[in-house]
């Protein structure tokens, strides 16, 4: 199962040239992070941005394992959680001894925590890849999560351990009480971590990780010990997961067993995969999507879990390369300047597909609210769950939408072929 990574050929060849454009991307990203809260200033978006930032670091760290080294982990939350706990304890200690240590340093403590744990258990865990590793990580995950409920003095049992981020020494008058300040703290660390992790992929170690992912056996015959390589990867993943955990601890001012649990591990796996493990930036997209779904869906529907599930199934089935995979598919077309020829077919397809989606939503909500018999408000149109007209509408949308959509999807495929051929002829496509 070591090759269980999206087989979508990783043409992840970031131009070695174009250094300017390369630094440009990072600068733009940084700028974006700075202005974001000014653009969307509502309290809600601040909270989401903070959570997304944390999720991004976490997902990227996970991809060091899955995407770069081909290690499928079911227990990545362990490093995240331990990082969180360590951070909380650190904050409390700093506060009580009022050491002159400002809050922004704390995530590093978390990181060290995560790394230390990886250092500790990593060697035995990474002996093998594939299913064995996956299952050990599952075991360790559950083990640590449950133990955290027993070692009450360290983990505080069910209720966890709380802290007060404002009790540390202020930095340039920043107390980090207000969310905005926390946001910038997180944003800072997102930048630092993302750059660091990207850099890592460009190092000899990073490259050998890829080699180990593709063919660990062969790696042994070019002088490397795959075990050591995996161990390194595992530690770096731990480091950044820990940083993410530390930030979470700062954001929530609490750490509890849930940090370490299977749910967290599952979510990060989702985020990474959905985003696309074959590209560095994939997990970033995944993290954004997953976090938004988590926060957003619950507001609009009571059966959010169902949509959650459906969306993931859909992405896995129709975009196995993740969102990044889809986007990158268009890269050669853009280069070849043939993208324009496919766009129309997209627009055409969008309509029936949307109808189909709406139909499904309507159907689900109808069932969900049937007993209540209350009103579903879809695009401002009120539907009564118990009204046959509503069911009819749903049925029409689903069936009709599907039939039409199928045709338009074929259109896309054809348009694609044409565009791709041209691209191939112009030599932008292997």
């Amino acid at each position: 199962m070591s090759n269980a990574v999206t087989p979508a050929p990783a043409v992840a060849k970031e131009e070695s040239g174009g250094a300017l454009s390369f630094y440009g991307i990072w600068l733009i990203a940084a700028a974006a992070l700075v202005v974001l809260p000014l653009v969307f200033s509502s309290g809600g978006s601040l909270t989401s941005f903070s959570l997304i930032g944390i999720a991004i670091i976490f997902a990227l760290s996970y991809n060091i394992l899955l995407g770069q080294t081909g290690l499928l982990s079911f227990g990545h939350a362990v490093q995240y959680g331990l990082g969180g706990f360590l951070a909380v304890h650190a904050m409390n200690a700093v506060a009580s001894h009022n050491w002159p240590i400002p809050l922004p340093v704390i995530p590093l403590v978390g990181g060290i925590g995560g790394m230390a744990f990886a250092l500790l258990v990593g060697w035995v865990m990474t002996k093998r890849a594939g299913t064995v590793f996956a299952m050990i990580s599952l075991g360790i995950g559950e083990l640590v999560a449950s133990s955290s409920l027993i070692l009450r003095s360290v983990f505080g049992g069910e209720s966890g351990i709380t802290t007060d981020r404002t009790s540390l020494m202020p930095l340039f008058g920043w107390t980090f009480g207000p969310q905005i300040q926390v946001y910038y703290l997180i944003a800072f660390w997102v930048m630092v971590s993302a750059i660091a992790m990207y850099a890592l992929t460009r190092t000899p170690l990073g490259r050998i990780c890829n080699a180990v992912r593709d063919n660990p056996e062969r790696v042994e015959f070019i002088g490397y010990d795959p075990h050591v390589v995996r161990y390194f990867a595992y530690m770096f993943a731990g480091l950044f997961a820990g940083i993410a955990g530390g930030l979470a601890a700062i954001n929530f001012e609490i750490a509890n067993s849930a940090y370490l649990g299977a749910t967290q591990s599952g979510l990060v796996l989702f985020a990474a995969f959905i985003g696309g493990t074959a590209y560095f930036f994939g997990p970033i997209l995944g993290a954004i999507l997953v976090t938004y779904l988590q926060l957003g869906l619950t507001n609009v529907t009571s059966v959010w879990q169902l949509y959650f599930g459906i969306i993931f199934i859909a992405i896995v089935m129709f975009a196995p390369g993740g969102i990044a995979g889809i986007l990158m598919k268009h890269r050669p077309l853009i280069r070849a300047g043939t993208l324009g020829t496919v766009i129309p077919s997209y627009l055409v397809a969008a309509i029936p597909t949307l109808a189909l989606a709406l139909g499904i939503i309507l159907a689900i909500e109808t069932v969900a609210r049937f007993s209540g018999g209350d009103v579903i408000n879809l695009l401002g149109i009120p539907f009564v769950a118990t009204a046959p007209t509503t069911w009819a509408a749903a049925a029409v949308l689903v069936v009709g939408g599907f039939l039409v959509a199928r045709i338009t999807w074929r259109r896309i495929a054809e348009a694609w072929d044409r565009a791709a051929t041209v691209a191939r002829d112009r030599g932008y496509l292997a």
Binding site: G44, T47, L51, E158, G160, T162, T298
Partner: protein, 391 residues
């Protein structure tokens, strides 16, 4: 008039879902009731369900969401673990965001610490905390000579632990002759099959079990007892919850399961019983949380007294407020720790002698709750260690 939003932060998925759903129905019913009578100072009341999966950290995410959505009142009950986190949250939030205060109305998280060392000015609790309940429960048990061997089984978290410790302590004081033959803590909302625990209880030769288990952890516990045919007396906090009554009936423990609560369907109080009837008709469940009724009605009263829905003013008004509780009798919100005091009832579950006086059964078992002892408000007073920090 924009409406008053109350964030209901409780489990709507996972192990606590069944309990959380019950609570949600209750509050939505109560909101409708208030709105039918013109709402609060003309504002409609709206319950906003926020699923916290019985997880403190998730609860904070939800609480933050609530705040971001401009909500100033949150209510929660299922789990002191969560309760503690929320109490901490409102305290911090209110001190950091003056003018954006949030009040936390607690209807069931009964870990005593929340109104003692951890107490907060922004937290109000309408449920008697677990020490108060245990005090009353042990007072009753004191009078039961049949009790000789007691077995304690509780969920492994702050509430369960406080039940177990206070039980040991109080029984020790009041009935030194009673022998505690077992003291179990099991993982919270994770156990699928309790038969191993039942086997243990059985082996211990206990004649009485004291437990604070709730939700599926109670239902499953009794289901297992039923299967093994364990026949003992049960002194419980939450036997009335979903699944409990069914399991009790299956075991055939006629009036051997006791529950301590601030009210029961067959209270004998006309108003309350009419309410119960209508409530059951509309929601399909029985009133598990009379305290929730008190909470909402008292919220209205306080807002009107303060003639404002500004949380700060409401909080001030609530402090020390006297209030006639749902099924008669007077209660009041103690200023020192924001713990509400009210009459408490110990009831037993079984066949109902007089269907006219006691019309309500549970989960169509034909059995219902019958009061065996009633403790008046002043008897329930316990001192508090809280030194309240007022803004």
């Amino acid at each position: 008039q924009e409406s008053i939003k109350i964030g209901y932060i409780d489990p709507l998925s996972g192990g606590g879902a069944s309990v959380g759903e019950g609570g949600l129905k209750t509050f939505q019913y109560l909101a409708d009731e208030l709105n039918a009578k013109g709402g609060i100072l003309g504002h409609k009341v709206e319950i906003v369900p926020l699923d916290n999966k019985t997880n403190p950290q998730e609860s904070l995410v939800q609480a933050q969401k609530a705040v971001d959505a401009g909500i100033h009142y949150i209510t929660q009950g299922n789990g002191s673990s969560v309760g503690a986190a929320l109490e901490d949250f409102v305290t911090k939030h209110n001190s950091r965001n003056p003018g954006k205060e949030v009040l936390y109305f607690n209807y069931a998280a009964v870990d005593p610490s929340m109104t003692n060392e951890k107490c907060s000015y922004w937290h109000f609790r309408w449920d008697a905390n677990s020490d108060i309940k245990m005090e009353a429960l042990t007072n009753y048990m004191k009078g039961q000579p049949s009790i000789k061997k007691v077995y304690l089984i509780n969920m492994d978290y702050s509430f369960g632990q406080s039940v177990r410790t206070s039980a040991r302590k109080m029984l020790g004081e009041k009935r030194p002759d009673i022998q505690v033959v077992g003291d179990e803590l099991h993982p919270m909302l994770k156990v699928t099959d309790f038969s191993p625990y039942i086997a243990k209880i059985k082996a211990s030769g206990a004649d009485t079990v004291v437990t604070g288990n709730w939700g599926q952890d109670f239902a499953l516990l009794l289901k297992a007892a039923a299967d093994a045919g364990l026949k003992v007396n049960w002194y419980t906090y939450y036997a009335g919850g979903a699944g409990g009554p069914t399991a009790i009936k299956q075991t055939g423990l006629d009036h051997q399961v006791f529950q301590i609560s601030e009210g029961i369907p067959n209270s004998g109080n006309k108003a309350a019983m009419d309410f119960e009837k209508d409530f059951r008709a509309k929601t399909g469940i029985s009133v598990w949380y009379p305290r929730a009724v008190n909470e909402m009605r008292m919220f209205k009263a306080a807002a009107e007294k303060a003639n404002s829905i500004d949380p700060v003013k409401v909080a001030a008004a609530l402090e020390g407020m006297k209030f006639e509780v749902f099924d008669g009798g007077d209660g009041f919100m103690r200023k020192d720790d924001h713990q509400f005091f009210q009459p408490i009832i110990i009831s037993s579950f079984g066949t109902l002698a007089d269907k006219a006086k006691e019309p309500f059964d549970e989960e169509n078992t034909g059995w219902g709750w019958h009061p065996v002892s009633r403790i008046d408000t002043d008897q329930t007073m316990l001192p508090t260690t809280c030194n309240m920090k007022r803004p």
